[in-house]
């Protein structure tokens, strides 16, 4: 861990400010990505995720503050040569074959991966001779991933990588991303799927209104919302349930109730003592999605916003 921190960061935004039209997309954002880290960047739509990616990849320049990539300017070709990027909604030339397009991107890098290796890692076997325009959405995403890893990058940026993929393809991509992390690559991941962030990332950064509102391991983020969900069937009434030790919330769905508690053992001891017919009992930690939603709601400036449904990530 200490050796990790002595190395220069892979990528960094320092006090980055970026205006896009009338809105302030980034408002003094700080984000440092260290070698070997897999960072998931989460936040509601318009929080500044895409702008952060655009600054780190050199596509946009910060109005104030700075963006650094491998201790250089992200606009320098040399710094970008160590980075691979999979953009959200990026297109492919319809008239080039998968092999031609991947080979073209290999050529941009000084020490590219062998073509066969890229094709295998991205799960594109058998599609090499197909035109990019004839591929399905999920297959096109895999080609985008192939382009991102073509240069054996030290920093992999994945912007909504599994949009449009079926479950098998997602799992396949996760395996490939884990292999890149194991190889020592740092990863910046933005995603709408919290399970994806949980499966891949060792660090979660939640941003909203252009600022970081939470930063830590997935476990640390979840513990920020100190709630555990107890679900069961019981004959106790809502009022009785609400009176149990440490209970912070009660809800009913069908025949099952959900108790939110700050201490599952304390609540369970009382629940089981009062009602010996308790059945179908499960205890689960607050999900990452639950935690992130609450963090974003808590940071919302107006109470009116906190009431409305906040879409996470």
């Amino acid at each position: 861990m200490s050796a990790e921190f002595s190395q220069p960061p892979v990528a960094a935004l320092r006090q980055a400010v970026k205006r896009r039209g009338a809105t302030l997309a980034l408002n003094g954002l700080d984000l440092v990505i260290r070698p070997g880290q897999c960072v998931a960047l989460l936040g509601p739509n318009g929080a500044g995720k895409s702008t952060s990616v655009a600054l780190l990849t050199g596509r946009l320049r910060p109005d104030e503050g700075e963006a650094r990539l491998f201790d250089g300017d992200p606009r320098d070709v040399a710094a970008r040569g160590r980075m691979g990027v999979m953009l959200q909604e990026a297109g492919l030339p319809r008239t080039l074959t998968v092999r031609e397009q991947v080979d073209l991107f290999r050529g941009y890098y000084r020490k590219p991966r062998p073509l066969d290796e890229i094709v295998r890692l991205a799960g594109l076997e058998g599609l090499e001779r197909r035109r990019c325009g004839a591929l399905s959405g999920g297959q096109q995403r895999r080609v985008q991933f192939a382009l991102a890893i073509a240069g054996r990058p030290d920093f992999l940026v994945l912007d909504e990588p599994t949009t449009g993929m079926d479950i098998d393809a997602r799992r396949g991509l996760w395996t490939a991303v884990r292999a890149e992390i194991a190889r020592g690559a740092a990863v910046l991941l933005t995603t709408h799927h919290l399970d994806e962030a949980e499966a891949l990332a060792d660090r979660i950064v939640v941003i909203d209104h252009g600022q970081v509102i939470a930063d830590g391991s997935p476990e640390a983020i979840k513990s920020r919302v100190s709630a555990v969900a107890v679900r069961c069937r019981t004959r106790l009434s809502d009022a009785e349930l609400a009176g149990l030790a440490r209970v912070t919330g009660v809800s009913r769905e069908g025949g099952r109730i959900t108790l939110l508690t700050t201490s599952a053992p304390a609540t369970l001891r009382e629940l089981l003592a009062r009602d010996e017919t308790v059945d179908d009992l499960t205890v689960a930690g607050a999900s990452l999605e639950d935690a992130v939603t609450r963090l974003v709601q808590a940071s919302a400036p107006a109470p009116k916003n906190a009431q409305s449904q906040v879409e996470v990530a």
């Binding site: 070709v77 909604e89 297109g91 030339p93 035109r131 240069g151």
Partner: protein
């Protein structure tokens, strides 16, 4: 060396991509050939000077469509598909993408003009070798201003708008530049419009180089063309920069 290779690969990929698009390739090469074959050679049988004069104009005509559409409107489509974004992020030297596209457009123009030259040669047009080289060479060079104009359109409009505007300009350049019909056969106001089209000045130079008109006003024609190219280059540069503001 690496940088140079990247440029070469980018150009090759663009050429391959164009080659894979016969619906673009065939009309842009075949149309000038067909027009020239029918009107330049077929209808002017026995009057070689007309075929000769038309060749001088058609080498410019053949350059406009591939340059403006292949280079201009196609950029709009790729911009819409967010293809350019990825290229701007990839470790590709600045301008590598545009250089590749320009090379592909020039390759297409070269093949169209080359075939036009072959057709004219066998159709009876007679020139000394340097005039052949100068006429066809000017046609190839004329792709540059048209490509820059096309790029201005492609960087500023959506793909549908870009195609429409490029079409309009293409027809305007051909008609008002006097490439299809001599300006002397058209009303006087057309000649005034012709003055601001690159096609008119290129056509005039082409006539001189192919020996169908005496050398005159060369400096003025070249100056106007240089001014148009420079303005288009600045406009394209500004449009390209605006995307990464």
């Amino acid at each position: 060396m690496h940088t140079l290779l990247v440029y070469v690969r980018e150009a090759r990929a663009q050429i391959v991509s164009t080659w894979h698009t016969p619906q673009f390739l065939i009309p842009s090469v075949a149309l000038p050939l067909l027009f020239y074959g029918v009107m330049g050679l077929g209808l002017s049988k026995g009057r070689e000077e007309i075929a000769h004069m038309m060749l001088a104009n058609y080498v410019i005509f053949a350059a406009i469509a591939p340059a403006m559409f292949g280079f201009g409107a196609a950029v709009a489509a790729e911009r819409e598909a967010k293809l350019i974004e990825l290229k701007q992020i990839a470790p590709l030297p600045a301008g590598g993408y545009l250089a590749g596209r320009l090379a592909a457009a020039l390759a297409l123009v070269a093949s169209a003009i080359g075939l036009l030259g072959v057709l004219a040669y066998f159709g009876g047009v007679v020139m000394v070798p340097w005039r052949w080289a100068a006429t066809l060479g000017l046609g190839l060079a004329s792709a540059v201003p048209f490509a820059l104009i096309g790029l201005n359109i492609g960087l500023r409009l959506g793909s549908q708008g870009a195609t429409a505007v490029a079409n309009l300009l293409f027809l305007g350049f051909c008609l008002f530049g006097g490439l299809w019909m001599p300006l002397s056969l058209m009303p006087g106001w057309v000649a005034k419009i012709a003055e601001v089209t690159p096609s008119y000045h290129l056509g005039q130079l082409s006539m001189m180089l192919s020996g169908m008109a005496p050398m005159a006003d060369v400096q003025r024609h070249v100056s106007v063309l240089a001014a148009i190219s420079l303005a288009a280059m600045i406009g394209a540069w500004a449009g390209w920069r605006r995307q990464t503001a």
